[in-house]
């Protein structure tokens, strides 16, 4: 076990660093109630207190402890990021695999739907979805999932088209397997590597879009501890309380950086062309 770990660290040092950051993020998210000195919505201090021993990251515009909100924010970001990506990518992958398998008019038609969805700027699509759905944490997840679905469908479709053309698919058809059996036993398992890469590389994207939505005031309700929403309040108080920008901004950047490093190295490990690493 230790030997495997050592090999991973030497082969993919950046990936290992990313994994460490992500692990820390997960631990913080899980232990938020124990770690945070105050509740995320607890308003019991003076507003705009500069960082001090008592409030290491200061307080915000209504007097909430910024450190506590950042710790709770980790839980929020990770929850929204992971759930929306798993949901959206799974749906999109299924869609892409099935249309690639059947081909023909259904496939061409579904590709035009994907084109149309992808022609809308992502933030704008998410913004209009939030306007339609109403502001809540679960609706943010739904909007992000809808945003991720077409991209996943397109990627998995191209992978699935390659799988559909293989001799073992033909063999499965020749022995009389049903469509459902071929799709579930042969097609989907052979698209799994691409699926895993899609999931790992998109979590950071989803976290950024969630924060962006909160930033333009269209994300979760403002009292929820979202890093993006905290940053908006900071921009409004840019002269008096710059710490309200720095700390949430650093938290998002660090999380995204860690997830990107981890995602990159998982992609390298699953792509045989990159194995041995020239990158």
């Amino acid at each position: 076990m230790a030997a495997i770990l050592a090999r991973v660290v030497t082969r993919q040092p950046l990936g290992a660093a990313g994994a460490l950051i992500v692990l820390a993020l997960i631990l913080i998210a899980i232990a938020a109630p124990r770690l945070a000195p105050h509740g995320p919505k607890e308003v019991s201090f003076a507003p705009y207190l500069a960082p001090s021993a008592e409030f290491p990251m200061g307080t915000d515009q209504v007097g909430r402890d910024v450190l506590s909100r950042i710790i709770w924010g980790a839980r929020m970001s990770l929850y929204v990021g992971v759930v929306s990506v798993v949901f959206g990518v799974t749906l999109g992958s299924f869609w892409g695999a099935v249309t690639a398998y059947f081909g023909g008019a259904a496939d061409a038609g579904s590709q035009r739907v994907v084109d149309s969805l992808m022609a809308l700027p992502p933030i704008i699509l998410a913004l209009s979805l939030m306007a339609a759905l109403g502001q809540s944490v679960n609706n943010v997840i739904l909007a992000l999932a809808i945003l991720l679905t077409p991209t996943a469908a397109r990627t998995i479709r191209s992978v699935a088209l390659g799988v559909v053309a293989t001799p073992y698919m033909e063999a499965a058809r020749a022995v009389g397997s049903s469509h459902w059996r071929i799709i579930s036993r042969h097609l989907i398992p052979n698209c799994m590597a691409a699926y895993i890469v899609l999931v790992t590389t998109n979590v950071s994207y989803a976290i950024v879009v969630e924060a962006s939505l909160s930033f333009i005031g269209a994300g979760a309700p403002p009292d929820e501890p979202s890093w993006g929403g905290m940053l908006t309040a900071g921009v409004q108080a840019i002269e008096t309380a710059p710490w309200m920008i720095f700390f949430p901004g650093l938290a998002i950047s660090l999380a995204v950086f860690g997830l990107n490093l981890l995602g990159d190295s998982i992609r390298d490990l699953t792509d045989p062309r990159l194995r041995g690493g020239l990158g």
């Binding site: 700027p121 704008i124 339609a132 962006s212 840019i238």
Partner: protein
Amino acid sequence: MRLYVVRRLFLFIPTLIGVSILIFVLMRLVPGDIAEILVYQTGSESSAVQQKQIQKIRQELGLDQPVAVQYLAWVGAAAHGDFGRSYAQRRPVSDILRERFPRSMELALLTLVIAVVWAVPLGVVSAARQNSALDYLARLVSLSGLSLPLFFTGALMLYGLVRFFRWLPPLEFVAFTENPLENLKQLIWPALAQAYYISAPITRLTRSQMLETVRQDYIRTARAKGVAERSVMYRHALRNSLLPVVTFIGWWGGRLLGGLVIMEIIFVVPGMGTALVQAVSQRDYPTVQALIFVMALVFLLVNLFIDMLYAWLDPRIRYA
């Protein structure tokens, strides 16, 4: 080439129709229509009177008709450049577009120029001296550009300007035609912050394309026949690496009009993005529809152009 153009247009038109339907349906899902908002704002009358007013406004705006009829009426008018009247601003939406579109377009072009001028050479140098200190520095800069969310770089830049230069975003927008210098003073900062973000993937792509190209046989041949290293890099490697980079830049360029919304908000630029966020919160359907439609249209047109350019530059695509 003609066949390719025709085939490509066959993709473009259904997508455009798809986009227009999508936008229209999306806006009809929004709860609470404008008639109710307009009436309840004034709200001193009895509820019976209010109901009557709501009915009247719905009729005037055509909201009482089936969605399909509304859609066709909208598309028909939009094809003539008429996007209806803004509910909230009480003027034609085309006026809003005429006012906002050039501003966002200017910001987008400025961003793109800065990003390309900075990112492509950085990628080339990074690849030409692979694994040197310079290469690591370039990779670090672009990786950090990818990890720092737009609104954070924007906010940091604004903080720096406020704190050290006592600069605040002007409240009045000055057009380039009025006063070019004042105009650039206002737009250069959001353009820089946005350019930093989009230059990261461009640098990375340029670098990886260059690295792939320099491993090709014809590069070895060029070196073997004694072509100077400089010439190998710029005449042979760079030219052949640039095609995917051009496509990618085009893709980003098309995306920019909608992607600028965050920078417009931070730096108080009254462009399409800020107009859109405001219109969404006011349930101003005609304005929202028109703005999103124009953003998507620009994206599709830029993509169409890039694909044509690509096919023209690389015959393999035409005949594929």
